[in-house]
Amino acid sequence: MADHPRRLKRSGLTMPIVTERFINNAWHRGCDFINMDLEDSVPPNLKDVARNLVRQSIPVVNKGGADAVCRINHDLMEADLNAAVWPGLMMVNYPKAEYAHEIRRMDEIITRLEAERGIRPGAIEIGANIETAVGVANAYEIVSASPRIRDFGGASGYDMSRDLGVEMFVGFDQFVYGKGEVELTARALGVEPHAAPFTPNLTGSVSDPDRAFAEADAARRCGFRIGGGLHPNVVEPQNRGFTPTDDEVADAHWVLEQYRLLSRSGDTWIQTEDATGQPRIIDRYEAARAQELLQWRALCEERDREKSEAISRVRAAEEHAE
């Protein structure tokens, strides 16, 4: 697990792989990843066509620096994996994960395909999406089933709501238990938890940039790093919302400086005031958080640079071609 670089997943667009113009235009949106969908957005009669498009689409979505992800069909797992696991793919999203044996089976197939197709062993991640009550009940076994699962969350959303027979937008959080179970599982097994703090949403809008930013910002302040969406409008707000601000960076430096002073005093904590006059505690937990924030910010900057360079390269090449 530790051998593979951490991939950022602040923003990502999910799109039907059969809609050529979506796939062809997605590269310049600035997504951390692009999720090529073989599942719900592809009509049953086009599943074969869709499968044949994955291999050629990977470099298309990659060219602006986005990582390529493919969401496969729960019931067509083997055929879909065979179509999707090619060099350049970062992750397979597996919907409605319910049992550990499903994940073990996926791991076996991916391991074989990696070997046959010249992909570094263990490189391909599995995104195990928990969308049913059975999946929640078996969360611990599911995450334990493969080291390819490097982040874990879910247990809310449309499929979950259908399984429980609860409506989506009711003004209270219907999914507290399931979200808690999957997050505790992620934390207990040491994979990155991803969760969405509850923000009442009565409309179900998927394209409102302000809302996307507010949600990403709230999630980041809670310590979460993973986003994704359906509409190009939300990409930039998510990248921004999941990236620490300059003020936060300055504050983190201040915390670390205070902690250095504290360490010399023999105390384990002090209460003090920050630059804005707010009472603050300084201790090893605050210091660790500040440290992590600076590391995360550096990763975000590096990732943003990577993407903008890739996009510039493509643009330059296109101009050159003209």
Binding site: V176, Y177, G180, A195, P197, F198, T199, R221, C222, Q271
Partner: protein
């Protein structure tokens, strides 16, 4: 309700490396004083801190408090050797993570008890489920030793790095707290904790916010909570005590219910516009029992402070 009636509402954590805090601890009015060897003692100060535990066990009980020592499972042997002496009521195991670990601690305590002339099994345990694995294994931990009296999330918000949501609730804490209450009650143990909100950071809250946290905590099933400041003790004692209004209501319910059951076979009687069933009557009976037990505990503490002969608790 777990089958124990010990009133332990306020648990004051005192850093063992702070002689002045240790000296004054008996004055705070806490039901329990926890002598800390883990969280508030800097690493280099730990050996000296361990040296002085035994000498202070009885001094901190001068106000009628019980005394626990908080130990670090990674330094279990040294911490337990420092703590298990006559007078000790129990240990708090910080960052408890597995049943095996609890069994080991239990065995070590047992041999120290027999070596040092303590009643076998007299040292109790409170397990701090502060990490994700600890919470995941909570039920196994709770049932791993008969010494276990209580469970707490301790500093889980800090150790698991849980941060405030826009609502002011600390992320995941409602879930973890109710899960802990469930596990504790299922295992016949006592759940300890308070429902802290942002901007209270961990255990560092004003007296007013401490009272609110205690009341919210009690509402979901907690029976007492840890704190780190002397001025948080009184709010915890108050917050985990039924209010006068509650007690009056409970008395009225008891009266109404006994009138009704005596007068006939009516399943439900009306009280304040509410339907009163046997289980609702039982909820209120719990309130009265708790209120009585607290009054007895307070009498004991007052007597201790005044140096009078103490009534048997």
């Amino acid at each position: 309700m777990p089958a124990n009636d010990k009133i332990r509402r306020s648990w004051l954590l005192v850093p063992m490396s702070r002689p002045e805090r240790v000296l004054s601890a008996h004055q705070a009015g806490a039901d329990v004083v926890i002598l800390d060897l883990v969280e508030f003692v800097a690493e280099p100060d730990k050996p000296a801190a361990r040296e002085v535990v035994a000498a202070n066990l009885s001094a901190v009980k001068a106000g009628g408090a019980e005394v626990f020592v908080q130990i670090d499972p990674e330094l279990m042997l040294a911490d337990l050797r420092a703590a298990v002496w006559p007078g000790l009521n129990g240990v708090v195991v910080s960052r408890a993570e597995s049943a095996e670990q609890i069994a080991q601690i239990d065995a070590t305590i047992s041999s120290l008890e027999s070596e040092r002339g303590l009643l076998p099994g007299s040292v109790e345990m409170v397990a701090g489920l502060e990490t994700a694995p600890g919470n995941h294994n909570g039920y196994e931990i709770a049932t791993a030793s008969p010494r276990n009296w209580g469970l707490t999330l301790g500093r889980a918000d800090l150790i698991m790095d849980l941060r405030p949501e826009p609502s002011g609730e600390i992320h995941l804490m409602q879930y973890l707290m109710q899960r802990l209450v469930t596990i504790a009650a299922a295992a016949g143990k006592t759940p300890l904790g308070a429902s802290w909100r942002h901007p209270d950071r961990g255990l560092l809250a004003t007296p007013a916010n401490t009272l609110a946290a205690a009341r919210r905590g009690r509402a979901i099933g907690f029976k007492g909570s840890f704190c780190v400041l002397d001025n948080q003790v009184a709010p915890l004692n108050e917050g985990f005590t039924p209010t006068g209004v509650e007690v009056a209501a409970a008395r009225a319910v008891r009266q109404a219910y006994s009138d009704a059951t005596e007068s006939g076979t009516i399943a439900a009687v009306s009280h304040d516009g509410r339907i009163l069933t046997a289980d609702i009557a039982r909820q209120y009976a719990n309130v009265l029992a708790l209120s009585d037990a607290i009054a007895t505990r307070e009498m004991f503490k007052t007597a201790a402070v005044e140096g009078r002969p103490v009534p048997v608790p």
